[in-house]
Symmetry: none
Subunit: 226 residues, 2 copies
Amino acid sequence: MRVAGILLVEDDPSVRTALELALTRQGHSVTSYATGEEALDHIRSRRPELAILDVMLPGIDGVEVCRRIRRLDQLPVILLTARGDDLDVVVGLEAGADDYVVKPVEPRVLDARIRAILRRAESATSDRITFGDLVIDRGALKVSLAGKEIHLTPTELRLLLELVRHPGQVLNRRYLLRVVWDHTHVADSRLVDACVQRVRAKIEPRPAEPTFIHTVRGFGYRFSPP
Amino acid sequence: MRVAGILLVEDDPSVRTALELALTRQGHSVTSYATGEEALDHIRSRRPELAILDVMLPGIDGVEVCRRIRRLDQLPVILLTARGDDLDVVVGLEAGADDYVVKPVEPRVLDARIRAILRRAESATSDRITFGDLVIDRGALKVSLAGKEIHLTPTELRLLLELVRHPGQVLNRRYLLRVVWDHTHVADSRLVDACVQRVRAKIEPRPAEPTFIHTVRGFGYRFSPP
DNA sequence: CTGACATGTCACAGTTTCATGACACGGAAC
DNA sequence: GTTCCGTGTCATGAAACTGTGACATGTCAG
């Protein structure tokens, strides 16, 4: 299941808690704030994947937050409001929001709308695979673990991608040498082992008990998600 | 104002006519059909920009039409229905629809939702994009940083546009050589690097720590906003 | 338990890759 | 012709990457 970093802005604590709980239950990772100012700060540093903004906020209102977000980038935005006035909807959407949802909203419906928007926002660019905490973006050539980006060197990345291309299958050293390295290497070196170890050191929480890259003694290595 | 080729599918002639008129008034170019079968034929040949599907249709219903569209391509879809059941909404969105609108709908609201979806669906092809301080106008072929126009040479501009066309994606040198230059160049030249440096010198506040064009060692370059 | 063998670990130097700035060349503008 | 601009190439140095081998540790069979 996809896990999205969702930014929630809602000033009413009880609604905020309820929504946060509901979204978390649906598998999203949520960070919430009570004001637009805090949210705008958050966006720069934390790069959420989608923002849900209540329209009625103290200080900067949701529509204005949306406008300011749009001035910065393409972050998908859902406006949330108690008022379902036609004019409000039009104004909200013209401010750059992707959707406009009227409270109270059934969690399943909100979730479905979130997914529809993320699907659209990401279909253009992303080519990701997720294994638990591990996210591998083959288009951006980025790997992250529990939301934290991890730097892999070119060879490490090629090795990981090759393993991931055959989840659950054991790949032997000779094969890996041929595919990941150029076939000009001797077969009996510790090269593959060393590289696997380097990848493990970066993506395994406990490298001694690997959860992703497993050693199959006598044969090679196998990638299989936890 | 944008003019979209909209495909409308609605079996009730009076509703169909009314919607067609309303959308046309908003500046859209509309083609309408009474059944899903006709619509699916239309899509293959006429390549509309967005489809609005009534859910209750004779023959194949709107949700199924939506599923079949999704199997073909990314065409944005709005489902339109008299029933606003939560379950219907979830099912509709999970079928791949981008939005789910309950009739009767105010034309201005429908128009705003259409525009919101087109904006998202076409943000990759729209004329003007903003990434923080950087504004790229693909129509006018102008680039500006913090409001100040920046002069890029033709090659530099083609390179930047190519990178921006795939935000977040790593593009390798061979690809860039083929697309930005004509493929008649040797693969191992530092030409791409040099051009990237030149673009960076113009659009990056601190070229040593780029915020837009990132080097991905061993692979190529990636454009991603700060 | 012990030996044989497979795999993990580590440090480091040679190599590769890239940023940077200088420069040469050709064409367009004047 | 001269000047200016755009573009491709190159040298240089810095930084990052990676293969290697020695050694440690783990695992299995007898």
